[in-house]
């Protein structure tokens, strides 16, 4: 049997791929096209009734505007061209003497038609080019983010895996270990595995933000309930660190994806425990603040550790912490960058600073109002 062949030359396939999106048909574009046309026609009829002199020079102008708007608002060339054809026919048929007849007799008919076609094609070209450029810029930004993330993740995964493989090798090959040594190694393996779980949860969060494309799946949640679980998990994992939650008198309801917001606080707390430099207590306080664009729920996470290196502070959420010397310590870079991604996707802010009396302070602000125009 020979190789399976396409029933048409390969060059066709390429060309089809380019053509299809430009002549794509959508109900929305169709509606836009016909509504604009109907509005223009009605406007012309209305003006004709008002105007006693029966001067119809504005008709061509209005239809030109219709063609321009259609080309501007729809995808590809098709509807712009269609509007041009319909516009010329309408001008000829309904608004030029003799009325209600397609006569092709107006002076300058071909010129009107050509101008309309030109406007339509040029507008379509410009808008689609601008759209493509914007899409390309978004794509580039996304790729950059994915690349950063992958780099951080591969590091965050490799380190604990090395630990696990090493410790298991020792356990399998060394028979003369003391029970304490064995237990110590097993504890390390357990910790590394727990760490890997964290990394995976963060990756899941990213896909959850990314997969819903335009919108997060938000619901109204009580902030104190969402914060409680990460705190209690943290207390179990780090019994030596005192965690304290301060809840305001009134209940704060915030529109959010609760699992994602929980991930934010899990990461902030873990970050404090790992990079805080021997912290003994961490407090999570909630309150409500008023900003120019509405009310925000604010959560402040404070620890009593060594604080954040001032050099790293400006780039702490970029996901590239450690960078050149990243192999020294477990990297929480991905955790903090995930925090920022999640908070921003909610239309909120996150910031970090050092407290004057020592220790780090992270603030998360989430809007308490559902945004309507989020894209």
């Amino acid at each position: 049997m020979g190789k399976w062949q396409l029933p048409w030359p390969k060059s066709w396939v390429k060309r089809r791929r380019i053509l299809i999106p430009r002549f794509s048909f959508s109900v929305r574009d169709c509606t836009v096209c016909f509504v604009l046309f109907a509005v223009t026609a009605l406007l012309c009829f209305g003006l004709r009734h008002i105007d006693p002199n029966n001067d119809t020079r504005y008709v061509a102008m209005l239809f030109l505007l219709d063609v321009f708007l259609t080309a501007f608002l729809t995808e590809g060339y098709f509807f712009g061209v269609l509007a041009a054809v319909m516009g010329v026919l309408a001008v000829d048929y309904a608004f030029t003497e003799p009325y209600w007849e397609v006569s092709f007799v107006i002076t300058g008919f071909p010129l009107t038609f050509l101008v309309m076609m030109f406007i339509s094609v040029a507008t379509s070209m410009i808008t689609s080019r601008a759209r493509r450029a914007a899409a390309a810029a978004r794509e580039a930004e996304r790729q950059q983010m994915t690349a950063n993330l992958l780099r951080a993740v591969s590091h965050d995964i490799r380190t604990p895996l090395t630990g696990i493989v090493g410790a298991t090798n020792v356990l399998l090959e060394q028979d003369n270990l003391s029970p304490e040594q064995r237990k110590g190694l097993l504890q390390d393996i357990n910790e590394d595995a727990q760490w890997l779980i964290q990394v995976v949860e963060n990756l899941l969060s990213i896909t959850r933000v990314g997969s819903s494309a335009a919108r997060l799946h938000k619901s109204w949640e009580a902030l104190e309930e969402v914060v409680a679980a990460p705190v209690s998990k943290f207390t179990k994992r780090h019994p030596g660190i005192r965690a304290e939650v301060k809840v305001p008198e009134e209940l704060l309801m915030v529109p959010m994806d609760p699992l994602l917001i929980q991930q934010v606080f899990t990461n902030l707390l873990e970050n404090a425990a790992i990079h805080g430099g021997g912290i003994t207590r961490v407090t999570v306080a909630m309150d409500q603040i008023q900003k120019k664009d509405g009310a925000y729920a604010r959560v402040t996470v404070e620890d009593d550790g060594q604080g954040i290196d001032p050099e790293k502070l400006p780039r702490i959420f970029d996901g590239q912490l450690g960078g050149s010397r990243g192999d020294i310590k477990r990297n929480m870079g991905i955790g903090l960058s995930v925090c920022r991604t999640i908070v921003r996707a909610h239309g909120g802010n996150i910031c970090a600073e050092n407290k004057p009396d020592g220790g780090a302070r992270f603030r998360v602000e989430l809007p308490m109002k559902e945004e309507e125009h989020e894209n």
Partner: protein, 235 residues
């Protein structure tokens, strides 16, 4: 001799079923391990286990189908263990009659606690035995007095409103088990109530401010975010 409870483990991943089986045997249960939904259904019919640990991702069918077909004829406790962590999956499984839902990876102590709770609930025909005997439910310093319709904290009346009491009483009746928002709303306000859980959240916030020392770190009523609430196990 004490008769051991028999647990059927439905899990296709051998490493996971292995460790579950080991930990359950060590804690005084008999275990049977099966790897597919088809096998599970036969074994349930022939062996009458006391509890099923059910994985949702099975090679031959969705674990939810196993759950649904079991629920057609039996009240046998089912603890779902699954890698699906979305709230929607949890709510669906719980509403289909699962007694509990654990997301992988889970700790062994957590699994044991959930299994104990699930078995106990079924033994006492969904009513807490403690309540049946004394008309009271006690956990820590919290007591729900079902005869007097009161909730006491360290012996003092917590002064809950009627609705707040109803919520706490319901959670106490199923202590240790997650009750979904929809379930609580249906039980309290009837099947036609709008499943708007805002009112429930507000009530819960008020309850917590009355019975918890710190509402931000609850000791008695825990939130399963996006799913529902769970009361701490009775003493």
């Amino acid at each position: 001799m004490k008769i051991k409870d028999k647990v059927l483990i439905v899990e296709d991943e051998q490493r996971i079923s292995n460790f579950i089986s080991v930990i359950l045997t060590a804690n005084g249960y008999d275990t049977i391990v099966v790897r597919s939904g088809e096998e599970a259904l036969t074994m349930i019919a022939s062996h009458c286990p006391d509890l099923i640990v059910l994985d949702l991702g099975l090679p031959d069918m969705d674990g939810m189908e196993v759950l649904r077909s079991v629920r057609k004829w039996s009240n046998l406790p089912v603890v779902v263990v699954s890698a699906r962590q979305h709230e929607q999956d949890k709510v669906e499984a719980l509403d289909c009659g699962a007694d509990d839902y654990l997301v992988k990876p889970f700790g062994t102590s957590e699994l044991l606690a959930r299994i104990r709770a699930a078995i106990r609930h079924t033994r006492t025909s969904l009513d807490n035995s403690q309540i049946a005997q004394s008309g009271k439910f006690t956990t820590g310093e919290l007591t729900i007095d079902y005869d007097k319709h009161q909730v006491l904290l360290r012996g003092e009346n917590a002064k809950l409103t009627v609705n707040e009491y109803k919520i706490v009483a319901l959670l106490g009746k199923y202590a240790g088990k997650v009750l979904t928002y929809d379930f609580i709303i249906r039980e309290l306000w009837g099947p036609k109530a709008r499943s708007d859980n805002q009112i429930l959240r507000v009530n819960m916030a008020n309850i917590r401010r009355k019975i918890e020392d710190n509402p931000g770190q609850p000791q008695y009523i825990f939130t399963e975010v996006g799913v529902g609430y769970r009361m701490r196990e009775g003493d």
